[in-house]
């Protein structure tokens, strides 16, 4: 409730934010992960650099592919018709983050930078092959979402680097969905499953699957993808994929006092089936 003393600075541009970060300090976006940690004194940055109003970080644009500014809020993303058509699973995941107040403040950039394993958007970003665009003192670089998430609360971001935007391939011709088993206490994900299916007639030409919540980071699930690809997504294929997904995540499982690893692993299979059903709408 009572954070340590800190200075506050509002950055007007990416350049200003990066320059300030060089002197130490932490970026503040929606504050919905950072401020709770500060209030518990688990984190005590000496300076907060508010990036929430930097013009270059705002907005969502659709120009063949989808570009989402790092400061776009969960609510904006969930409501965006471009996101709904080009990556329905992301709109859905952002729409399931926390409650309305959280979605109005929390940003996608802050969400992935924080890399809480129980977050929703990372799972979709990994499944759909998103790219994270990063700016640092030494210039810009892009990292595939799958490589961006490294461990619990750990990403490929170097000190002082800023996420500027996310790029997502146009997925409007796929069937994609995100389903979540919310933790009854926090409503973060016990397990979240994102699928992105390209159908060719009645058969699944390509399947992208990722699991989060149950794992220390969002995990791309090659076994489950193989089990679905080339099938008609019949019950046998779904059961095989549900089994395979448990193996895909076996090395990355996490649990808590109420929902242990083994349970989450099992639920990943159940929710994979639900995700495929949801994708097929």
């Amino acid at each position: 409730m009572w954070p340590n003393k800190f200075d506050y600075l509002r950055a007007g541009s990416v350049a200003e934010a990066l320059a300030s970060a060089a002197d130490g300090g932490k970026f503040l976006a929606g504050g919905h992960s950072l401020l709770p940690a500060m209030k518990l004194r688990l984190d005590s940055p000496e300076q907060l650099i508010d990036i929430g109003r930097i013009p270059e970080l705002q907005g969502i644009s659709a120009n063949g592919a989808l570009t989402i500014g790092a400061a776009a809020t969960h609510a904006e993303i969930a409501a965006s018709s471009d996101v709904q058509t080009m990556c329905a699973a992301l709109a859905s995941a952002c729409g399931q983050v926390g409650d309305q107040a959280v979605r109005n403040f929390g940003t996608i950039g802050g969400n992935i930078a924080h890399a809480d394993p129980a977050s929703d958007p990372p799972t979709v970003l990994v499944a759909c092959g998103a790219t994270v665009n990063i700016q640092g003192a030494d210039g810009a670089r892009s990292v595939a979402a799958q490589d961006f998430f490294i461990d619990l609360f750990e990403t490929a971001l170097e000190d002082g680097e800023l996420i500027t935007s996310l790029s997502l391939p146009n997925c409007s011709d796929c069937q994609c969905a995100y389903v979540k088993f919310p933790h009854p206490a926090s409503r973060y994900a016990i397990v979240g499953v994102a699928v992105c299916l390209k159908m060719d007639g009645g058969s699944c030409a390509q399947a992208d699957v990722a699991v989060g919540g149950a794992t220390m980071k969002a995990v791309k699930c090659a076994g489950a993808e193989a089990a679905l690809t080339g099938t008609t997504l019949d019950d046998a294929a779904l059961s095989a994929a549900a089994e395979a997904v448990k193996a895909d995540i076996a090395d990355d499982l996490i649990g808590d006092i109420a929902y242990p690893e083994a349970y989450r692993q099992q639920m990943a299979g159940v929710f994979l089936k639900r995700a495929v059903a949801a994708a097929q709408g």
Binding site: M1, W2, K5, P184, A185, S186, Y188, A258, Y263
Partner: protein
Amino acid sequence: MTTRIFGSGIKRREDPRLITGEARYTDDIKLPGVLHMAVVRSPYAHANILSIDSSAAEAMEGVVAVYTSEDIGDGLAGLPTAWLIPDSDLKTPEHPALAKGKVRYVGDGVAIVLADDRYRAQDAADAVVVEYEELPAVIDPEEAAGEGAPLIHDDVEGNIAFTWAPFDEEASNAAFEAADVVVSERILQQRLLPTAMEPRSAMAQYNAATEELTLWCTSQNPHIHRFIISAVTGLNENKVRVIAPEVGGGFGSKIPCYPDEALVSWAAIKLGVPVKWTETRSENYLITIHGRDHVQHVEMAASNDGKILGVRATVYAGMGGYLSTAAPGIPTILHGLLYVGPYTIDSVYCKSIGVMTNGTPTDAYRGAGRPEATFLLERMVDNVAREIGMDPAELRRRNLIPAFEDGHDVAAGLTYDSGDYPAAFEKALDMAGYGDFRRQQKSAEAEGRYLGIGVTAYTEMCGLGPSQVAGAVGFQGGLWESATVRVTPTGKVQALIGASPHGQGSETTLAQIIADELGFPVDDIEVIHGDTTETPMGWGTYGSRTTPVTGAALAQASRKLKDKARALAAHLMEANVDDIEYADGSFSVKGSPDQAQSIQDVALMAHLAWNMPEGMDPGFEESQFYDPPNFVYPFGTHIAIVEVHAETGEIDLQRYIAVDDCGPQINPEIVAGQIHGGVVQGVAQALCEGVVYDDNGQLLTGSMMDYCMPKADMFPNFELGETVTPSPHHPVGVKGVGETGTIASTPTVYNAVLDALAPLGVNQIDMPLTSAKVWSAIQDARS
């Protein structure tokens, strides 16, 4: 005849200020020059304090002082335990406001910091260096009472604070020996966090010139707080003023007097400036009392044809590191005396062992002892039904006490006031469509779907209570209430009460009682509470007692005023009192209706006193002390219908039916609100709430990230029904309804889930029934 205000579901007058954020809570009150107190709290559940170094903290900017128990010395007496249950070998270990040499739970206060700013106070608290020698900790009450458990207080041998077993054990054994069947279960009543929306807060101001201390605090019973603060500080009680401003819920957690309230008082006296402390939510979870925490070994005896012959239990009740204010009374008097429930059970036995542990102290939490009793009874009734192959509703039907209007003695020693349990029971079964449901359940099972139904018949003892009984059971206070109805010359009413409502809507309900008795418009009646200097003595708001006890005092005070008004009206109209008729706030003379005196006219004339009858005093105000002749016993039947998803263990609560009888309902909307809230809290115990400590006594459910508060989307629309059986001894016939929802709903939902799981071979799961536990239980049963 206008519509009667009694029984009308008018809107709660409290709500506009609460909903718009205009209400003023303790923390909203700002005093110039106030110092903020932060408490250095033990990170260990059990440890010796080797040293405390506050020098760095003292040197920090804005820090005025750092104090430890050594600095306080005998400036503060230990916090008293105020429920000294008899015949139980009760030990009351010292509870110092700050730990002396040893800490006994995580959060136990070690030092206080006073600073000019809340942030600085916290910084300095973090800078106090305390060296500890960690000791082994014990959390489970049964384990703490066992061989080899770490000793928590030197003067509480074996950690056993009391053993309460007032019933005839031999008779109980005989009943069990004669029975056809005996079922048993080990039931865990897990610890719960009361989680009032407003955390606790206290601010003290001492006036050295008048030697008066004012303490604003989050209290359900400011007069009890005054009593205890006066005792621990040594100030005369008439020099202590306790004010409970708006209080944002309590559920029992704001009954006790805590160290923090004593500490701000002491520091304000010591430093001569006001001192304020407001807990954070994390502190709230660590240090504000927890509820429940029983390990129960329960048995029920029955005949093969479904007659319940006896119930007995050994209960290990976790008291935590210290005995909180009312703690010993909760798992004893408020628990074991309830073992008969609404049934014709002739033999009860309860042995309740109060055990010191390294958990947060426990005390009364909504229902306090009675939910733990109702749960074990209802659980065992379902177990008997399963054992003898009888439908659980039918088993209950066969054992319900038949209707009675004025007193019924039961084997646990209580005299129930009135009840018609079968009526409420059959009504609830009808509303649920019980028979149809059993058929649906069968066909669902054939499709691999698992539906379940839980039925709870309950009665409970509330409206605490006759003071003579309070004395007999060791409660260190009375349980009467007093109230003054004061009418101003312009005919506006101030009702001053000693109780201290904090969210129940009592300002509305109590105004309705007065309006009904005296004919004043309800909007002309203010109910004033929460200030020991403004209000008459009272013992507080808990145990569903404010409407039954304060309400009775107000009704009787109003009746005295009405008698006076009638006599004065007769005098003014030059008529005989016997010829005065009263309707809707107006007195008229029989046969000449155009001549009338309104209650407001009479009030004015009583104040003016120009023309009083011989011997009548001026003024228009009456006070009443009311000591209830008995408790009140609301009752009813609750039914839940659930579906359990075997694949995930998720529980879908599909229907919830509650038929409650609290006598005539003064305000049905408020009654419904109390039932809704109570049901939600009780269902949450069954499904999601539960404190978890690790083996070292660290609280793992220290925030709402892990401690699962119920959410609105877990619940269907509740289906409420009522029956109306007035209490024979109450002036307006009402019974309490603040806790019935919590008391009835936990076993209802629990039994429904276990009913659904029966075909899968699952017989028992410890609460809360999380999907993970349900799923594991299904896997275990299958393998």
